[in-house]
């Protein structure tokens, strides 16, 4: 089938050969899908996204992207590397790492310039992207001196400037204020409506309903314990609880103590 974008087959990966991060992961991602990958800390979500972005390669099994195997040496020549990089963009979990240029403007320009986009076009894109993410006032700033939320928006802008077909987001909303979270969700939804494929790693269950149709739950065994539509997964309390994704809360309310579960779909008072 031609609309398959990623095919992950029995992928195993370990860091330095001794810290297992993924053990036997299987998934198929089609064009235009909205996917969420959820799981507790350290279950291998970031590792998966880096595999999909062709930055690391499996010890076992394989990843196919756009009908071609992702192999370490297939990216050696500039042309094939660029063909892939133009189509897939990763927003890293740590925006401090993603932003390495001396100014916000240059960071946004970095991707398109590597692909040989003409400078006038790059300048046009900088303005367009800055407007979309509301960072026009930050263009001349030094990236590492920005706040976390500002950095995150700049990081997204730097990927948006490439205009890839597939967006990989690693914890796009962690540590952000509600308004910025809203802004980023809206961005993801709009991108999806424009036909982009979106894969988001998160443990923020509140946003999943909007940013994903399909959810994969990663368990402590570092593989997928469940995959399915977002409703069916979000309604499976025992699954979420046993995977550290929801927890029992003990609250004080006006001197009275009460206990309740934190549920993704019902905002708690």
């Amino acid at each position: 089938m031609s609309d398959i974008i990623f095919e992950v087959k029995d992928v195993h990966y370990s860091y330095l050969g001794k810290f297992p991060a993924l053990c036997g992961v299987e998934m198929t991602i089609r064009s235009g899908e909205k996917i969420a990958v959820i799981g507790a800390n350290g279950t291998g979500k970031s590792t998966l996204l880096q595999l999909l972005d062709g930055l690391i390669f499996p010890d076992h099994g394989h990843v196919t992207a756009f009908g071609e195997r992702l192999l370490e040496n297939s990216q050696n020549d500039e042309k094939s590397a660029h063909r892939f990089r133009r189509r897939v963009g990763l927003v890293f979990q740590n925006a401090d790492i993603q932003l390495f240029c001396p100014s916000v403007k240059e960071d946004i320009a970095f991707g398109p310039l590597q692909f040989g986009v003409a400078e006038e076009e790059v300048n046009r894109r900088i303005l367009e992207v800055a407007k979309a993410l509301d960072i026009q006032h930050l263009l001349d700033r030094v990236p590492h001196q920005l706040s976390i939320g500002e950095k995150r928006r700049v990081a997204i802008a730097s990927v948006l400037a490439i205009d890839p077909d597939v967006y990989l987001f690693d914890e796009p909303t962690a540590g952000l204020d509600p308004l910025t979270v809203r802004h980023i969700i809206d961005f993801i939804v709009t991108a999806s409506q424009r036909g982009k494929t979106i894969i988001t790693a998160t443990h923020d269950l509140h946003i999943i309903g909007e940013i994903a149709d399909t959810v994969y739950v990663f368990g402590r065994n570092k593989s997928i314990v469940r995959g399915g539509s977002s409703e069916s997964v979000l309604n499976d309390r025992t699954l979420l609880e046993s995977n550290n994704l929801i927890h029992i809360h003990r609250h004080h309310h006006g001197g009275r103590e009460h206990v309740h579960q934190h549920l993704p779909l019902e905002p708690h008072d």
């Binding site: 880096q50 972005d53 930055l55 990216q75 500039e78 590397a81 660029h82 990089r85 133009r86 963009g89 990763l90 890293f92 740590n94 401090d96 790492i97 993603q98 390495f100 240029c101 001396p102 100014s103 403007k105 240059e106 320009a109 970095f110 991707g111 310039l113 590597q114 692909f115 040989g116 400078e119 790059v122 300048n123 030094v142 590492h144 730097s158 990927v159 490439i162």
Partner: protein, 283 residues
């Protein structure tokens, strides 16, 4: 419990922290570069070239008065670039004694520059004579150093370091070098911040860091991991670059916009320099 050893360690700790924040402030702050003043408004290329011309002039002129004129001009520029004059003096003064003392001292004395003695002294059997040409030379030298240092400080205060680095490309420095140096800058900032944070964090847990063995150990260990963290980060930064299409030769924006104002400024700079040269060498 005022053990002198403890006091000294406390002092070392405090001065280390203040040295760190000074380095951060002096080398990494862009407060003045972001102000809206005269020099900040110029194209960095034109600014750098004109300041190079001023520097060459300051170094070649042989009259303290002419170099002094240039120094006065430098102060006026600082004023119009919204740099607090006292801060400016403090920055330059910091470097001047360092530079001048070690080079000037030997020339002051008769051993190197013979001539009419101005002042002689005898200290524990050593005869010292300060000579007229020696003194004049020293004055010239100090003025020259003060002016050169001021020019360099003024240029660096009013230009973002990323732009200064970009100017390097004009002189044929490869882009990979420019990108690497600007990333080093970033790491320096990150490293300084991390060490500062570690000190604060450890202090909040064990009190004064250097008075307790435990505290010292934590700091040592943390500095080691900080190093690991920065090297690990550079690997990740490399991945982030790959992810956005980097394949070995970075391409960066080359936008500079020269305005008529920049050309006018360059013209002024040339006139000033040649005027000073003319006065110094032909009049």
């Amino acid at each position: 419990m005022s053990n002198p050893l403890h006091k000294r360690r406390d002092f070392i700790e405090r001065s280390m922290l203040s040295a760190l924040s000074f380095i951060k402030e002096a080398t990494l702050s862009e407060e003045y570069a972001n102000r809206k003043g005269f020099l900040q408004s110029l194209d960095p290329r034109f600014k750098t070239i004109s300041f190079l011309a001023f520097l060459v002039t300051a170094v070649s002129l042989k009259s303290a008065a002419l170099i002094g004129t240039l120094y006065g001009f430098c102060l006026i520029l600082a004023f119009f670039s919204k740099i607090p004059i006292r801060k400016f003096f403090a920055r330059t003064l910091l470097f001047i004694p360092l530079f001048s003392l070690c080079i000037v001292l030997p020339t002051l004395f008769g051993i190197v520059t013979p001539g009419e003695p101005v002042w002689s002294f005898h200290v524990s059997g050593i005869n010292g004579i300060i000579t007229r040409p020696g003194l004049d030379g020293a004055v010239l030298f100090v003025v020259r150093i003060a002016t050169s240092v001021s020019l360099v400080v003024l240029l660096s205060l009013t230009t973002r370091h990323s732009e200064l680095l970009k100017v390097l490309r004009l002189f044929g420095v490869p882009q990979i070098f420019v990108l690497t140096v600007s990333m080093c800058y970033r790491y320096l900032h990150l490293f300084a911040t991390m060490v500062e944070n570690i000190f604060t964090a450890v202090k909040s847990r064990v009190g004064v860091v250097s008075q307790q063995r435990h505290g010292q150990k934590i700091v040592a260990w943390n500095i080691a991991t900080t190093w690991n963290r920065t090297t690990h980060m550079s690997e990740e930064v490399y991945m982030a670059m790959l992810s956005r299409g980097y394949t070995g030769e970075p391409r960066l924006l080359s936008e500079f916009n020269a305005t008529p104002k920049d050309w006018l400024w360059l013209l002024c700079a040339i006139i000033i320099c040649s005027g000073l040269f003319y006065k110094g060498y032909f009049l």
